[in-house]
Amino acid sequence: MKRITVIAGHYGSGKTEFAVNFALDLKKKIDAEGRHDKVALLDMDIANPYFRSRERQKMLTEAGVETIYNTFGFDITEDLPAITAAVRGPLENPDYQVVVDVGGNDSGARVLKQFAKYLTGDDVELLCVLNGNRMETDTVDGMIEHLESIELETGLKFDGIINNTHMLTETTAEMIVKGYRLCSEVSGKLGIPVVWNTCREDLLDDLKALMDMENVYPLKLYMRPSWLDK
């Protein structure tokens, strides 16, 4: 377990949903182990004004996860490409376990460049979220091209892949397996591991019946309002 986990990827790949789940689970794990590390979620998404982790700040704060994004203290939504200097606190302070949620694509990940000095050490893990159901990442070549464009833009190297192949409420276990196969091939070609295969909690049994997959990460859907599926 690294101290800093950076979540990047294509827009619409499900970075924020994973980051929110990951931060909450991390906090639970730390509490269960009786440790005292603090957990911070740094929302560095300045590419997209919608569906950002800060929208769940209340829930995250109540669960003990500090959420840091801008200096205004509320979800200001004008196109301000600004991140508060306060994000440096958790990046520098070894008492923190940090989850960094960045914006989509290479353009969204560009923001990482200014924090590069914090993101190259041994206690950092840079993960790329890939959704095999998205049109530009539904092939091995597409996934690699996408991943490498983010690396090129940020000058950072990914340490691992998160297979987050989904179709929202219409996700099936078969899709997760399809994504697993794509991501495994990408993993083989690039020499970085598939760290997680995400699976909505209610699909865990279906997935188990289909394949004995390693590193399955059960997901709750925190970001999607229920009325969107009416």
Partner: protein, 359 residues
């Protein structure tokens, strides 16, 4: 329909337009619709189309004027303040009878407003921000799937009516993801086929026919009156007969009927279920066309209905059309949020119960 894919709204809108045979796009960036020009800038050239990033919205609507006059299938897109800048152009497109499709991914206002979803463009798009007795045909999708189908068909409607057609989505629909089946790609019209399909278009007379002219100026008042009364007005009357569309759910026997369009109607839909569990019968009229407004749907509201409630993200702009459609028959109330704040199904249910207490 193509295979089901997970698409972001704006991305899907652009794909639907290209699949409908659109080959010209002129745009200027504005949140929350930027993925439309982004996609077009990358993909339109691959199918032989032309993308231009204009220097402003005013320029892009006038580029559409030119391309449509020459018989092209044209898309423009923007968001509320950008659509406001285009209003003069829409009036011009109406007077030259240019078939242009516009996508408006609405945000909040007035002025620059905010970049979160809104529906306060209702007046601007149904009443016309531009001058003169013109109308734009306006569709309002509730989902990305429906938006794709509306965009796909809008090009045909625009051609048939020789009139601008707008798809009024909102920031939520533009930015969210949904599994979508986009309509199959159609062949774009070949340049040599344009003169037969659009005999009015500026395709070059080559000394083979009379010159065509696209005219937006009528110097004699009688000629301009004749154009308004005998060209535009009958076209709009035909549109009012043929185009209004609405989804009508559980209106028969309902105590309360919600009227709501776009993504907001999905919140109203969930509120209906909350209220149903409490024994309150609620119906829904969801206008799929904002102009012409689906007046016909309101004829289905019977004696059982004591309250009609406009549920919208504006200070009650659509509510005025609801009142006109009901013509004083039933009291009309408003449940709303503005400024980019969204309604919540629970809140809609609570406010409905408050309204029902009023006799």
């Amino acid at each position: 329909m193509q295979e089901k894919r997970l698409l972001k709204g704006n991305e899907a809108f652009a794909i639907a337009a290209i699949n409908a045979g659109c080959r010209f796009y002129f745009g200027y960036p504005i949140t929350p619709q930027n993925e439309v020009p982004e996609y077009m800038s990358r993909e339109l050239k691959k199918v032989g189309g032309s993308f231009i990033q204009a220097e402003s919205e005013l320029a892009s609507v006038n580029m559409a004027y030119g391309a449509a006059s020459a018989g092209g299938r044209v898309l423009i897109s923007s968001s509320s303040p950008g659509i406001a800048l285009m209003q003069e152009g829409f009036s011009d497109l109406a007077v030259i009878q240019a078939p242009v499709v516009a996508i408006n991914v609405m945000r909040s206002g007035p002025g620059i407003g905010g970049i979160q979803p809104g529906q306060a463009d209702y007046f601007q798009v149904t009443r016309g921000g531009g001058n003169g007795d013109y109308h734009i045909i306006v569709y309002a999708p509730k989902s990305i799937q429906e938006a794709c189908e509306m965009i796909y068909n809008a090009f045909d409607v625009a051609d048939e009516y020789r009139n601008p057609v707008m798809i009024c989505a909102d920031g939520m629909l533009g930015q969210m993801m949904e599994p979508v089946c986009v309509p199959e790609p159609r062949e774009a019209m070949k340049e040599e086929d344009i003169p037969a399909a659009k005999p009015w278009a500026l395709t070059g007379h080559k000394n083979q026919r009379e010159r065509n002219a696209i005219n937006s100026v009528f110097l004699q008042q009688e000629v301009l009156e004749d154009f308004n009364m005998n060209v535009l007005a009958p076209k709009y009357e035909k549109a009012k007969k043929e185009l209004p569309e609405a989804e009508i759910i559980d209106v028969e026997g309902a105590e309360v009927v919600f009227v709501s369009y776009g993504s907001t109607s999905r919140m109203a839909r969930e509120a209906m279920e909350i209220l149903k569990e409490e024994g309150i019968k609620v119906g829904l009229i969801r206008p799929k066309t904002l102009w012409p407004f689906p007046d016909f749907a309101f004829e289905q509201i019977g004696e059982s209905t004591k309250h009609v409630i406009a549920v919208e993200l504006s200070m009650g702009q659509m509510m005025q059309d609801v009142k006109l459609a009901l013509n004083g028959r039933i009291p009309v109330s408003l449940i709303n949020k503005v400024g980019g704040v969204l309604l919540d199904p629970e809140e809609i249910a609570e406010r409905t119960k408050k309204i029902m207490e009023v006799r």
